[in-house]
């Protein structure tokens, strides 16, 4: 009897701990403009955008097994479309961001159709080629500045709010919404009826096929969905930067290598992994960014080490040791 009582207590403790941690983090983030300075706020905005990118890459690679190294295609397209809609379409920031996301998702349909003709590791490199096509192609579009890029007119950012502080706050809450929505979206998806199918694909594609999951269609849907959401984050990132060039927009290092690093170190195939990874990535960057090339080499070494030591990453390790889920996705019968 005591045994049962003890094993029952641990999950309950973990659940309340999860609620406390999640609640405190959300509250701290929601009130950030009140306690954070300008520099911290900018850092948080970037971190929240990266959280969204990481959640999306994890959804794609961790759950459907589609290892893409071409997600920069969608960051860049989102950024360029947002600039195009805001500059030439005269749209406000929010509608332009939304439309850029939808537009990119639509472009991802033919793109995915091409990439899906390749399997496994070749899919990965195929997505990279496609991203390069967008980068080189965009350099040829004169109206968007060609190879040297284009700046966002001051009016666009001004349309958000009047004062500078208010603008910063509005920007922050957009980032907050994108970051939190990315987690919520993945969480909701995994708890939906598709979630079961996705977990099945992650664990064994063959088994998933035999129980009647059309893995190809589901994977394609996830590919298009992540493209759209990645573009939303991309649009915001370039709203923050106020300038876009093909090389910056379609950078494999900034938008894919770092994102993969975040997911891998945090724990691929888990919702919590990208969150932990984002925190660690920005912490490491604060400490080591001045080391230049050594900092990047260190990241490479860490990523390789994770694969050799425990490819489930930090959260995967914690989960297997404690059975703790910060955001439970399994529906239990209680």
């Amino acid at each position: 009897m005591t045994m049962i009582a003890q094993t029952g207590a641990a999950p309950r403790l973990q659940t309340s701990l999860s609620v406390i941690i999640l609640g405190a983090t959300l509250a701290a983030l929601a009130t950030a403009p009140m306690w954070a300075g300008r520099a911290e706020l900018r850092l948080l905005m970037e971190a929240l955008s990266y959280l969204a990118l990481a959640q999306m890459w994890n959804l794609l690679a961790g759950y459907t097994g589609l290892v893409s190294v071409g997600q920069q295609a969608f960051v860049g397209l989102g950024g360029y479309m947002f600039f195009g809609l805001a500059i030439f379409g005269g749209m406000g920031v929010l509608p332009a961001l939304g439309l850029a996301a939808v537009g990119t998702a639509i472009i991802a349909i033919p793109t995915g159709w091409l990439a899906f003709r390749l399997n496994g590791a070749y899919f990965a490199i195929g997505t990279w080629v496609i991203a390069e096509v967008f980068r080189l192609g965009m350099a040829q579009v004169g109206s968007l500045g060609g190879g040297s890029g284009i700046s966002l007119p001051v009016d666009v950012a001004r349309s958000l709010a009047d004062g500078r502080a208010e603008r910063e706050m509005a920007m922050y809450y957009i980032a907050f919404a994108i970051g939190v929505a990315s987690v919520a979206l993945v969480w909701g998806l995994l708890r939906s009826r598709w979630g079961l199918a996705m977990t099945a694909i992650r664990d064994s594609e063959l088994a998933a096929e035999t129980v009647g999951v059309s893995t190809r269609r589901l994977k394609f849907m996830i590919y298009v969905l992540t493209a759209g959401f990645t573009a939303l984050a991309g649009g915001f990132l370039f709203l923050q930067k106020l300038r876009i060039t093909p090389d910056a927009a379609f950078s494999v290092n900034d938008w894919t290598a770092f994102v993969i690093f975040i997911v891998v170190i945090g724990g691929i195939g888990t919702i919590e992994g990208p969150i932990i990874g984002t925190v660690l990535f920005f912490a490491l960057r604060q400490v080591a960014a001045d080391w230049g090339t050594w900092y990047l080499m260190l990241m490479g070494v860490i990523a390789i080490s994770v694969m050799l030591v425990d490819k489930r990453g930090i959260w995967g390790r914690i989960e297997s040791l404690t059975g703790w889920h910060l955001l439970p996705v399994k529906r239990t019968l209680d």
Partner: protein, 288 residues
């Protein structure tokens, strides 16, 4: 006339791309393994030859020998000590480990050699040309590059189909589980495959150094060209890879003839076009 000239240039360039592609194709064939750092290793080969011949003043023959030996040994060790540990059904670990390597190599090169673009000057080799018929002349350097590609691919074909090593490589590719029952050691065989592929990577790096400007970040583009040549040619067909390289090279030089900015883009588009029409490549493997 300019068009024919650019096509001929493209064919020669295709030889270089086939050299890029051969190692990638070999490793995939034996181990179903794609090395994301493949292009970066080619660039390492280019920097090594530059260091040996220009900085250290070694004779070119000795320099070439050293590059090839170094890369082959490094490739063997890399596979034996590191990559073998992440091979398996899950495609993610090998992709991520080699992606990490790619970042380490690029930044390591940047630290040692700076971001300046470099080229190995070859003097008279560059200025001499070969007469092809009455009408045409091709630069000696591109011509030798193309012939090297043909020779390397012929040699790989020979190794693969006529030697005990090739037999073991093919057997391991077919059924790695059963090979140890015939006395084969998979870890060693995989490492030999990577060693052989790295030898070709060395040859490719040396030609890269002589043919074009390169810098520490030049690797990923080389990986993409290699990959495109493999897919255009058709998986598992090494002569197809040469043809894939040629198609890619011609697409690039013809694109560049239209507008200098279209060179790389035209190559990528040719690849995507093949992917649309024939996803298995233009010359898929014929059974032997």
């Amino acid at each position: 006339m300019v068009w024919i000239n650019s096509i001929v240039q493209g064919v020669m360039l295709g030889g270089l791309y086939a050299l890029f592609a051969a190692g990638l194709s070999l490793m995939f064939g034996v181990m179903r393994f794609v090395n994301i750092a493949h292009g970066d290793f080619i660039v390492v080969g280019a920097y090594l030859i530059l260091t040996f011949v220009v900085s250290w003043g070694l004779s070119p023959v000795l320099g070439v020998g050293m590059v090839l030996v170094l890369l082959a040994v490094a490739g063997y060790m890399n596979q034996r000590l590191l990559l073998n540990r992440v091979l398996g059904k899950d495609i993610l670990p090998p992709i991520l480990v080699t992606f990490g390597m790619s970042i380490i190599i690029q930044n390591g090169l940047l630290e040692v050699f700076s971001a300046d673009s470099q080229k190995l000057q070859t003097g008279w080799l560059e200025t001499t040309s070969v007469q092809l018929g009455d009408q045409f002349a091709v630069g000696l350097l591109p011509f030798l590059m193309f012939m090297t590609a043909v020779a390397v691919i012929g040699l790989l074909q020979f190794v693969f189909y006529k030697t005990p090593l090739g037999r073991m490589l093919r057997a391991t590719s077919d059924d790695p589980e059963i090979v140890p029952l015939m006395g084969g050691n998979n870890a060693h065989t995989f490492a030999l495959a990577t060693g052989l592929a790295s030898l070709v990577v060395g040859v490719a790096g040396i030609w890269l150094a002589m043919k074009t400007n390169f810098d520490p970040a030049a690797g990923p583009a080389r990986l993409l060209f290699a990959f495109e040549a493999v897919i255009i040619g058709g998986l598992g067909n090494i002569w197809g890879t040469l043809l894939g390289g040629i198609i890619l090279g011609v697409a690039q030089t013809v694109g560049a003839q239209v507008d200098a900015g279209y060179q790389i883009l035209a190559g990528h588009l040719a690849f995507l076009l093949v992917l649309v029409i024939r996803p298995t490549g233009l010359f898929p493997k014929v059974s032997h």
